[in-house]
């Protein structure tokens, strides 16, 4: 018979919450949590009370009202009668544009500079050190303003291109105009985009290669801009005008991209087949012309069928017209952010490479690998594990630094929603909260994508 019994259970006393170490830490945490919640609640109620006293209850109705201001750079149709919400979207797209361009350029530059800084060539190594130290030790705002000033002051104004004996001329066989208002580059267009000088659709499409045109997402019969889209006859019937639908998707572009991707996939299959044959017989069939042809031929034929052409910039009136206008505000911001962030990325890449022990290089060269392949196959894949996490922070920094855009008049989300909209409506709290939310969302998305990539390159342990 068992004689051992459970020790008598002590009754729980309230004082144990403080004197008993088993409960004390929990008590402290709960008290701290309550204090924190009270503080937050007080802040919120204080703000709400003060705003109510001022007669400015938080409301987001202003987002639906007409914005009334124009934005020079826009990736979707926008005019000053569109809502503040749409103006904010134009701003978000501009932020994303400069962030993506900046991250890509900064990564390429950063990797090259980071590798070169380890170069055995004394001059190259020192030059890269100077680059890194100069760029990372001067505030990025100064770089933005400095590059903008250079672009404005040194490049020719459009009026210098005019006259019989112009001071400036267009570059690259008269296809690119570099001015102090920005760079005008040829604009790739499809047959459906052909319009006359006034921007109206041509009555009779030129030839039969008119392409598929644009599809307006969210078009409705109530929208006067969509009148022509629903019409069955008359000039430009079936074509959505600017402002019809929430945004328009170019079906031509989608088709061209689909053909290109299919071509690349086919090329990949050909390579796999060649690999199989090589593994089986030891002889690799010559496939480069097949692979090249399967990508380029269908793509080129599709482009031709869709009436693909380039619109070249030409001086008309005060400015260059036609072509894509890369404004110098975008160029200055993009260059400054890329050069600045590249300095940090270079250091990260250098640290990542140095973290791989020299024995790896020696072992690889003992196996007979050439130096370039050692870098690509042995060193970089391992270094990536060290490089990716700090790289994420730098992408986030670059994206957030893009909010300095207003210094050069680039209309990003800070310039539209938290700038002009805030000023014209006087809704500081709402606009800034929305702006913070947008930056938070963008940053979290970047983090999520990069973390997913980090997981895919990390060491797989068995």
């Amino acid at each position: 018979m068992a004689t051992v019994s459970d020790p008598p259970k002590e009754a729980f006393r309230l004082s144990q919450l403080i004197y008993d170490t088993r409960y004390r830490s929990m008590t402290i945490q709960i008290v701290a949590l309550i204090g924190f919640l009270v503080l937050i609640g007080w802040l919120i109620s204080n703000t709400a009370q003060n705003l109510a006293d001022l007669g400015k209850e938080p409301s987001f109705q202003f987002m639906g009202e007409a914005a009334g201001y124009d934005i020079n750079q826009r990736l979707i149709d926008y005019n000053n009668q569109d809502s503040h919400l749409r103006a904010a979207f134009v701003g978000i797209l501009n932020t994303l544009l400069v962030a993506v361009m900046g991250c890509a350029t900064a990564t390429i530059l950063g990797v090259i500079i980071g590798v070169l800084r380890l170069s055995k060539n004394w001059l190259v190594g020192r030059l890269m050190t100077v680059y890194v130290e100069i760029f990372r030790n001067v505030p990025v705002l100064l770089w933005i303003v400095f590059i903008m000033a250079i672009l404005i002051e040194t490049l020719p104004a459009p009026r210098d291109f005019r006259g019989d004996d112009p001071v400036a001329s267009m570059k690259l066989f008269d296809t690119v105009a570099i001015t102090n208002r920005g760079v005008y580059i040829p604009d790739p267009l499809f047959g459906a985009d052909a319009k006359d000088d006034k921007g109206a659709f041509l009555d009779e499409p030129v030839g039969w290669r008119v392409g598929l045109g644009d599809y307006p997402v969210g078009a409705s019969r109530d929208n006067p801009s969509c009148e022509r889209y629903y019409a069955t006859e008359g000039p430009g019937a079936g074509e959505p005008a600017a402002g019809c639908g929430t945004f328009q998707i170019s079906l031509d572009l989608l088709l061209a991209l689909a053909v290109l991707i299919a071509g690349l996939y086919a090329s990949h299959r050909i390579k796999r087949r060649a690999d199989r044959i090589q593994n089986a017989t030891g002889v690799r069939p010559v496939t480069w012309y097949l692979r090249l042809g399967v990508v380029i031929l269908p793509f080129a034929i599709t482009l031709w069928a869709l009436g693909f052409y380039f619109a070249f910039p030409e001086l008309r009136g005060f400015n260059f017209q036609g072509g894509t206008h890369m404004r110098n505000s975008l160029i200055a911001l993009w260059l400054a952010l890329s050069l600045y962030t590249a300095a940090f990325i270079a250091e990260i890449v250098r640290a990542g490479i140095l973290a791989i022990s020299h024995g790896q290089t020696e072992a690889a060269s003992a196996l007979g690998l050439r130096p370039k392949r050692i870098m690509n196959l042995v060193i970089l894949p391992q270094a990536l594990r060290v490089i990716i996490p700090p790289l994420i922070s730098n992408y986030l920094n670059l994206t957030k630094n893009s909010s300095l855009a207003i210094a050069v008049g680039y209309m990003d989300i800070t310039g539209t929603l938290m700038g002009i909209t805030l000023n014209q409506t006087g809704r500081e709290l709402e606009t800034v909260l929305l702006g913070m939310l947008i930056y938070l969302t963008i940053s979290l998305i970047i983090s999520a994508v990069m973390n997913w990539y980090n997981n895919s390159v990390k060491l797989v342990e068995r």
Binding site: K56, N80, F318, I406
Partner: protein
Amino acid sequence: MKKTVFLGALTVAGLAAGAAAAGTLDDVKARGKLNCGVTTGLVGFAAPDANGEWHGFDVAVCRAMAAAILGDPKAVEFVPTTGKTRFTALASGEVDVLARNTTWTLSRDVDLKFTFVGVNYYDGQGFMVPKALGVSSAKELDGATVCIQTGTTTELNLADYFRKNNISYEPVPIETNAEGQQQYLAGACDTYTTDASGLAATRATFENPADHVVLPEIVSKEPLGPLVRHGDDEWGDVARWTLNALIAAEELGITSANVKEMASAAGNNPEINRLLGTEGNLGEMLGLSADWAVNAISAGGNYGEIFARNIGENTPIGLSRGLNAQWTDGGLLYSPPFR
């Protein structure tokens, strides 16, 4: 016992809240200094000189207010604000009054909750272009690149004007007048638009002002004036009547030269006597000393003197009185009676 302590704490908290909500006038008197929001630098209207001392047409309004309230025209802390930061600065209480050529509009008055205390300059939006461009009318600006300060009413007027005339333009947003000047002079924009007075002031600082013309079109009404927060009417009254005193002084012939003499004894014009405090108790009604208007006028002279010294025809800015003449001279300046 415990209850008493709680109630006592509540009382103290209530008193503290009451003190914090006291009038701006008392705050300014207690501080001994007037916080005044001005531009970041627009010659003639508000700009610091080589010694860091602020001068200008808008600055004079602040100095007159400081003189009227505190008796010292130098007791002003000038806070430079941009077109974007000015309203936040005023709404948050960082400045007591904003004298920063700000246009009086319905939405700013009603929606942003500010009180415009009057108009010290009747202006309108204009365009400046280089003479070499060969443009003689704003309607010829189709396709032009336009430099414009963001966060201003001019931005909305510009959009309206081009929409109304069915012509296109490319806006280049800039943050301060200095940046606008730089871009305009480098040819990064074809035309610079802001209030006509601001254009004249900017042009005056150019190396060759004669190479630039202000186009004849005035595309908007821009009544510029000082403003205060809603909800403190006593403070609004002080600002409003200080401005009116300067305007009335010109009408009544009171100048910085003769104000001391006229205030020394009651004269035979009862309105002058009431304004200068030798008769009646207007100063007391405002919560100021009896000689408030005397101080305000001796700070920088009457409206006409301030205008002539800072932006008038004999200055580099060279603005004529135009709409800003007294009503008796065919202008719009008209002060309500001091009674």
